[in-house]
Amino acid sequence: MRKTLSFGFLASLVALVVCVLAGTGPALAQEAAGFGPAPVLTAADYPTVAGVNGRLVIWIVAQLHLWFAAFVLAVPIFVFIIEAIGMRTRDKRYDDMAYEFIKVSITAYSITAILGGLLLFSLILFYPHLFGYLSTIFSKSMFYYALLFFGESAVLYLYYYGWHWLQGDLRKWIHLSLGLLLNAIGTTLMLLANAWLTFMMSPAGVDPAGVFNGNEWEAIHNFLWNPINIHRFVANIAYGGSIVGAYAAFKFLTARTSQEKAHYDWMGYNANFIAICALLPLPFAGYYLAAEIYAYSQQMGITLMGGIFAWLFIIQAVLIGALFLSANYYLWCGMGRSDGARRYYWAIKYIAIVLIGAFLVWFTPHTLVLTNSELKSLGGPHHSILGPLGIMPAKNTAVNLMIIFTFLSFLIYRRSNKVATVSWEGMGNTLQVALFTAGILNILFLGIYHGYFTNTVYKVAASIPQVLTTFVVIVVSLVLDSFIYRGARDVGPLHWGRIPDRAQYALFLLAVAFTWLMGLMGYIRSGIRQHWHVVDIMRDNSPNAFTPTLGYAANVVSVAAVIFLTLVIFVFWIAKVSSVKTLPAGYWKE
C-alpha cells in the first residue's frame, strides 16, 4: 500500500515536471502583449522600512541564500556520485557516507528555502519597482521556479527518508534514479535563478528603453547566462565539498573512539578530494567568465579588471592562495596515514616553495586602469612595486604551475602507500619526471616568451596551449601512474585516523576561505553593474546606488559569513541532536 502510494506520488510528480517543461515551449513563442518601458525611478520610489538600509538587507540575505543554495545544490551531486561508486564497488562505507552527507544537507535545505522567502519579501519591500519590472519579464520562469521548488522538496524528502527503505537490487536503482532526478531539478532551479541575475548584467530580449519583446527564452538565454552557469556549477561543487569537509573535521576532533576517528578522517579526505577536483578547473571557468564580460561590454570589462575592483583581485589572490596551500597541507599531513610515505617527505618542501612562489606572482597587482579621480587617489595607474609580474601571462603561468604542483602533491599522496612491482618501474619514473619537466618548461616558455616579447593577441592566445599543457601533464601522468602501479603491493594497511589534529584546521580554513571568497566575488559580480539595476536600461536612483569601498564590502561579507557559519553550526548540531536520547529517570509514569 505504502509502496503504491509513493509510486503514485512520484509518477504524478514526474508528470507535473514534464507538463511544466513541455508547457514552456509554446508559451515562449507567445506574442508580446503590451509591455512597457523600464520604470524611471527617483529616490522617493525606494521605501524605507523601519529605518533599515534596504541594500544592506538585500545584500546579506541574498548572500546567505546563495551560500546555502550552493551547498544544498552541490551535496546531491556528489552524493549521487558516491552512491553510484558504492553500488559499483559494493562497499557499504560509501553508501553510509553518502547518507551522512545528505543528512547534513537536509536541515540546510529548509534554511535555504526560508532565506529564499526572506529575499523575495525584502526585494518586494525595498525594491518594488525593480521586482515588478523583472517579474513582468520573467513571469513564467518565476512561476515554474515555484513549482519546481515543490518538486525538489518532494524528491529530496523521498531520497533522504527512503534511503534505507530503497535498498537492494532494483530498489537501489530506483533510489539512484531519484538522486538523478533531484539533481536535474536542482540544477534547473539554479539555471533559472542565474538567468534573472545575468539579465540584470547583460539584458536581452528588451529594447534600449527596456520594452520587453515577449520572448522570455531570449531574456533567459542572455549573453552572460552560460558563463555564469558554468562558473557557479563548478564552484558549488568545490564549495559543497569544503563545507562537508569542515563537518567531517569537526566530527573528527570530537570523536571519542578510534573507529569514529577513522570514519571521519576518511570522510574528510573524500570531501577534500571533491573540493580540490572542482577547485582545479575553477580558475579557468573564472577566466572564461571574465573574458565573456569583456566581450559583452568593454566598459564593464574594464570596470571589472581595472579601477577599484583591480584591488579586489589581489584579495582574491590571497584567498585562492590560502585555498591551494591549505588543500596541499592537508594532503601532506594525510601522508602520515601510510607507513610508506617517509620515502617522499623530501619532496614536500620543494612543492611548498613552488606553490608559495607562484602565489606571490599571483598576488602581484594587475596593471590598474582607472578613471581620473580614482587615478588621483591611487597615485598613478601602476602599482609602485608592480613590475612585470602584474600582467596576465605571468598570472596564467603561476596558476598553471600551482595546479601542476597541487596535482603532484596528490600523485605523491597516492603513491605513498604503494610499492610498484613492474620491472620497468625506474624507467617509468624517469619518464614521468621528464614529462613534468618538459611540461613545466613549456608553460614557462609560453608564459615568458609570449608574455613579454610579443603583442596582446599572442599573450592571450598563448594561454590556451598553456592550459592544455597542464591538462596533458595531468592526464598522461595519471595513465602512466596507473600502469606503473598495476598490481602494486601495499606497504601496509592505511591507518585512517592517523592524522594530526592541525590537519583538520586546514579543512576549516578551506571552508571559511571558500565562503568568504564567494561573498567577495558576489560583491564584484553585482558591483560591476555600478549604478544600474539592469545595465543601461533601468537605473538605480536610490540613495544607495553608489559603489561601496572594498573595506566596507569586506566587512559586510565578514558579518554575513559569521551569520552563515552560526547557522551552519546550528545545522550540524541539529543533525547530532536528532540522534541523542535522554532517559529521564522517574519522569514518565511506569
Binding site: 561590454s297 574594464i302 589581489i314 584567498l319 597615485g379 598613478g380 573595506g551 569586506a554
Partner: protein, 273 residues
C-alpha cells in the same frame, strides 16, 4: 566543548584577518559616485566655460578616459586634430560625415559607423566598435553635454572650435533644474590644492606622493630654472623630458589655470631643491 570553542575562535580569526587585510592591507579608494546630469545655464556661458564643461564631462561622467588613455585601448584623442581628416579620406570610411565636426559627432553617436583600424571588437574585423554610444545607455549625454564634449575634443586636438554653444537645453531638461548659473571657480591659493585639482601627483613624484608616469619633481628647482618650468607647464610637448612619452602631460594648463595659479606653481616648483 574546548574543541568547539577553539574551532570557533579559529574561524573568527580567519574571517577577521580577511577583513583586516581588506581594510588595512590595500588602499581604500572611494569609487566615483553615480554620474548626474550637469546643471547648465547656457545663456550666461562663454566659450571658455563651455570648453571647461566639456573637459569635465570628458574626464568624469563620460567615462571617456576609461578607454582613451595611454594604455592603448582606444585612439588617443589629443591627436584627433591630425587624424580626423585621414579618417574621412580613408577608403573604408562609409559614414555620412563630411567635415571634421561631423566625424567627431558621428564617432560619439554611432561609434560603429567607422572603426579605427585595429580597435574593433575582437573577431569583427574592425566593423564593430567596442565604444558605447554616448547618447544613450550608460553614458547618456544630453544634447548640450554632447556639444560641450565635441567642442572640448576640437580644442584639445588643436582644431578650430566650430561647435556652437546650443541655445536650448533640449527636451529632457526643464527650467526648474537649470537654475544656478555656471559660476567661474575661485582660484586656488595653495600648491597642494592645485596639485590635487590637476592630479599632478598621479604622474609625478613630488615629495611623499609617488607617481611614475612623469619625471620626479621633488628637486626640480635644482636643475631647472623658472623659464623652463613655465614652458614645461604651458607647452609641455615643446621639450620632452628624457625617457618620458610625449602627450602625457596635460597641454591645456594654460587655458585652465589663472595667472596667479600659474605663478604659484612656478614659484613652488622652482623652490624644490
Amino acid at each position: 566543548m574546548r574543541q568547539f570553542l577553539s574551532v570557533i575562535a579559529f574561524m573568527l580569526i580567519v574571517i577577521g584577518s580577511f577583513s583586516a587585510y581588506s581594510n588595512l592591507g590595500i588602499p581604500q579608494i572611494e569609487p566615483a559616485p553615480p554620474p548626474t546630469e550637469e546643471v547648465i545655464d547656457l545663456g550666461s556661458m562663454d566659450m571658455g566655460q563651455f570648453l571647461a564643461l566639456g573637459d569635465r564631462i570628458f574626464n568624469g561622467k563620460g567615462t571617456c578616459t576609461l578607454c582613451h588613455n595611454s594604455l592603448g585601448r582606444a585612439p588617443m584623442l589629443d591627436q584627433i586634430g591630425s587624424n580626423a581628416q585621414a579618417r574621412l579620406d580613408d577608403a573604408r570610411y562609409a559614414g555620412s560625415a563630411t567635415d571634421i565636426e561631423g566625424y567627431l559627432r558621428e564617432s560619439l553617436t554611432d561609434p560603429s559607423a567607422y572603426v579605427v583600424a585595429g580597435f574593433g571588437k575582437a573577431g569583427t574585423n574592425d566593423t564593430e566598435s567596442p565604444m558605447p554610444g554616448t547618447e544613450s545607455g550608460s553614458i547618456a549625454l544630453s544634447g548640450p553635454e554632447l556639444a560641450a564634449v565635441l567642442a572640448f575634443l576640437q580644442d584639445n586636438g588643436g582644431l578650430e572650435v566650430t561647435v556652437e554653444i546650443p541655445t536650448d537645453m533640449g527636451d529632457e531638461a526643464t527650467d526648474e533644474n537649470a537654475a544656478e548659473p555656471g559660476e567661474p571657480r575661485a582660484p586656488f591659493t595653495s600648491f597642494q590644492d592645485l596639485s590635487d585639482e590637476f592630479a599632478c601627483e598621479a604622474c609625478h613624484t613630488i615629495g611623499e606622493e609617488a607617481g611614475d608616469l612623469g619625471p620626479n619633481l621633488s628637486a626640480i628647482g635644482a636643475t631647472r630654472d623658472r623659464d623652463y618650468i613655465r614652458r614645461a607647464l604651458l607647452d609641455p610637448n615643446a621639450e620632452i623630458a628624457e625617457g618620458f612619452e610625449e602627450g602625457m602631460m596635460p597641454d591645456d594648463l594654460g587655458t585652465q589655470l589663472y595667472a596667479t595659479e600659474l605663478e604659484l606653481l612656478i614659484d613652488h616648483l622652482s623652490q624644490l631643491k
